[in-house]
Amino acid sequence: MDSFEQVWRTVRDRHPDPKLNGLDWQAIHDITKPRIAKAQSLDEVRAILSEMLSRLSASHYAIIPGDLYKPLSDSGTAPDGDASSGITPMLIDGKAVVGRVEPGSPAARAGVKPGMVLDSIGGDSVAPLLELSGKLKDQESQRIVQRSVSRRLNGPAAEPLQLDVLDENGAKKHLEVERQPEGKLVTFGNLPQQRVTFEARALASGAGYIRFNEFLDPVSMMPRFEAAVKSFAKSPGIVLDLRGNPGGIGIMAMGIAGFFIHQSGLKLGEMKMRDATLKFVIFPRPETYAGKLAILVDAGSASTTEILAQGLQDLGRARIFGTRTAGAALPSDIVRLPDGDGFQYAQASYTSDKGKVLEGNGVTPDVEVRQTEGALLAGHDLVLEAAENWISTPAGR
């Protein structure tokens, strides 16, 4: 009953629309309360709560069963620590696949290659996580599972990662992979400490390539971003790889967009809270890049990444490649309920410049490119290649 009251109260107090789209929320409370009181099981309670939340007709209002938290938790079997093996996982066709191996990383040295299937991490099978992935259908849940796999790949530097993978022939291989701190350790408010990585290089095609893993640490990241953009001033295009980037500081989307938009008065979109509407205004930099801009995204791209990608897509400034993003562009929160379940709710609504609602929908790429195990094993990054092809095509977009 306490959980029910907390869910009901949270929606009443935090839903972006104080009128809850015209719902008589008090009446819904009064109808639901006796049903909760009569419920015989937690599953029944969840079903009643989910039914109540469905009245909102909005995404990202969800009851997450408490038992689903166990495999997602950092406690228990999950290792602690932030040293990286250099592996970026992806979920492909229900499998956890090595999507990227950082050049020169411990994983690269240990022989891990893109396309290999992750079978167990630290002695724990990945299968339970993948089962969750199957149960949780939306993009946001896919992202949560993908991040959970990522966290398990990280750990203390002193403790090598024990990894079982399936190679290109389906043969199981055991690998011991060292971990090493990667990127800069960043603290911001109540966020857990994060390692922020930044990479900028020229691709063989002549395009510039920029990738960073979080929208954090602007003090050091923004000057590096600016330097990279300037160094690519004569390149035919820039690829901004935001795959797996979960977002971070929202206004960094405005700051980065300013390097690619020269016209004042434009915006990426609007965030509507109960008492205010904030425009994600683009402030053009003194020098802006006028060449082609390709943004790479996937299901792990969320929040600030989506705000940036959708905004620049709306403005016709960027072409988006990859797969649909997480659809988690809002300042949503997940709280734990007294019964152990989780409750996810949105604190604001967000619409892009053209009025597209990102919450629950994500960014739909202009060019949908799905990564495959085979391509990865063959050394191809299909998404990046598609972007490079577009940039090198004189006809344009």
């Binding site: 408010g189 500081i249 960094m252 700051g255 300013g258 809270m273 109960r274 205010a276 904030l278 402030f283």
Partner: protein, 489 residues
């Protein structure tokens, strides 16, 4: 010369010093009693009977710039023998005031109705201008002739009309007995306003000034009595207070009236140091900590202000870096690691209480269109008056709460305009410190669109010498401004 000083006092902003020249030394043993001078004036302007034959009077007045091009003042004044009067002002600001059945009142669009009390009421009652000349005996029984001075080349008796809280002084031509000049002098000796008669008109047996040279501080204009009529008012309607004043008076009698918002704002100014202390305020250097209460973050910050439109502020936010903004008086700018540098619209005083600029605090009347006291509310244990403030252009409103006990501002709620949109901002002034004769807020709780912050000043320097170069534009801003002439204002 007719009395309309009480009304004029509220008409215009200028209230600076205008020193009356003393042109000849007084010789007390040669001076006549005031009675002789004032009775003579009544006589030469028509006589006691003529003055008292009128039951009512109405006149239309107009003030124009000395070149005649600009109308600075326009008003209609109605008076009765019983002492009721009403002054309806159209220019420069609409408003009205008067006395009805002994109740002295005023009404302005700025702050609504007000009932005048104490010396202010007494002055209003004495200001029954119609009978003033003929009834000086009862209005100013202690008047005395102080000197003989030359005005406009004419030897004149200088007569102090007493008693009056703001000293009225009149000069009468020794040769003709006519009024030559009238001044209102503050208790500090400053001439608040003066009128020198230029022409006269005779109507219905009475001689009255037709045009006067008016001086209020630096402002000089020509005041003309356009039309005068006697005994044609419909009583009591033509001199009765307007309906809002009557309602307010009834509320007062029922004990439920709220104080006039203008009075509450002025009380805050008084309690926090007074207008004079604010007028002395030039530079500010405030250093402190900004605590983001729900985010486990603390930022150091410093604000420097020159008092002449130049300012510079920085906030070092962990994880976001230094946020800067400033203005050299021409170009306003801001810069941050996230958004980079940009020139922006210059920060304007809004009158909504977002800055402690002296011009905003004591010059609030010029920045707002309307203030109204709405309610008494208890905030955090403080009994407060809630005042609604509307900006000059009407586009913004703010709520202010004034502590009934201390008179100080306790809370301000305003939707602050930012480049990203209007951001609801609630400032609660939790602690004050005496600096340079002013009570300065040193702990301010801020609720900014749901986020809570606490600003704590650890060093407040007012009127200290500042290094002017701190207001200089950073090189990259100077370059931006040079490339964008619109940025220069």
């Amino acid at each position: 010369m007719k009395q309309r000083k009480t009304g004029f006092r509220r008409l215009l902003a200028a209230s600076l010093l205008f020193a009356a020249g003393t042109l000849a030394a007084a010789r007390p043993n040669e001076l006549p009693p005031a009675k002789a001078v004032l009775d003579r004036y009544v006589t030469v302007t028509g006589g006691d009977a003529a003055w008292h034959s009128r039951r009512t009077e109405h006149e239309e007045i107009e003030g124009r710039s000395l070149d005649g091009k600009d109308v600075l003042l326009r008003a209609g004044i109605s008076l009765t023998r019983q002492g009721d009067f009403i002054s309806n002002v159209q220019l420069p600001e609409a408003g009205s005031e008067g006395v009805y059945k002994g109740v002295a009142w005023s009404w302005t669009p700025l702050s609504g109705p007000r009932i005048r009390k104490g010396p202010d009421r007494d002055e209003a009652l004495r200001a029954r201008r119609m009978l003033e000349e003929a009834d000086w005996h009862s209005l100013y029984p202690k008047s005395r002739v102080e000197a003989i001075e030359t005005i406009n080349g004419k030897p004149c008796y200088r007569v102090a009309l007493l008693p009056s809280p703001e000293q009225k002084t009149e000069w009468f031509d020794l040769a003709t007995g006519l009024l030559e000049k009238r001044s209102l002098v503050s208790s500090g000796g400053a001439v608040l306003e003066s009128y020198t008669v230029e022409t006269w008109r005779v109507q219905d047996g009475l001689r009255q000034p037709a045009t006067l040279l008016a001086e209020r501080g630096d402002l000089r204009y020509r005041l003309s009595i356009l039309r005068v009529s006697y005994n044609d008012l419909h009583l009591p309607d033509d001199v009765r207070y307007p309906a809002p004043v009557e309602s307010y008076l009834n509320e007062q009698r029922a004990g439920v009236a709220l104080p006039n918002a203008e009075d509450l704002i002025e009380r805050h100014i008084f309690e926090s140091g007074g207008a004079t202390a604010y007028e002395r305020l030039k530079t500010q250097r405030i250093t402190g900590t900004l605590n983001f209460l729900s985010r486990n973050m603390q930022a150091r910050t410093e604000t420097l202000s020159s008092g002449d439109g130049r300012y510079y502020q920085w906030v070092d936010i962990p994880g976001l870096g230094r946020q800067e903004e400033g203005s050299d008086g021409r170009v306003a700018w801001e810069r941050s690691p996230v958004l980079g540098p940009r020139a922006k619209p210059r920060r304007n005083l809004t009158g909504l209480g977002l800055t402690m600029d002296a011009a905003e605090v004591i010059g609030w009347r010029y920045l707002v269109r309307e203030v109204r006291t709405e309610a008494i509310e208890k905030l955090d244990g403080h009994d407060c008056y809630r005042v609604r403030v509307s900006s000059r252009n009407g586009s913004q409103t703010a709520l202010r709460w004034y502590d009934r006990k201390t008179g100080l501002l306790y809370r301000t709620s305003v939707s602050a305009k930012t480049a990203m949109g209007d951001v609801p901002t609630v400032l609660t002034y939790q602690a004050w410190r005496e600096v340079e004769g002013l009570k300065w807020p040193v702990q301010i709780h801020m609720a900014v669109s749901g986020q809570e912050l606490l600003f704590t000043a650890d060093d407040v320097q007012l009127n200290s010498r500042l290094d002017d170069t701190v207001f200089d534009l950073p090189d990259e801003i100077r370059k931006l401004a040079a490339d964008d002439p619109a940025a220069q204002q």
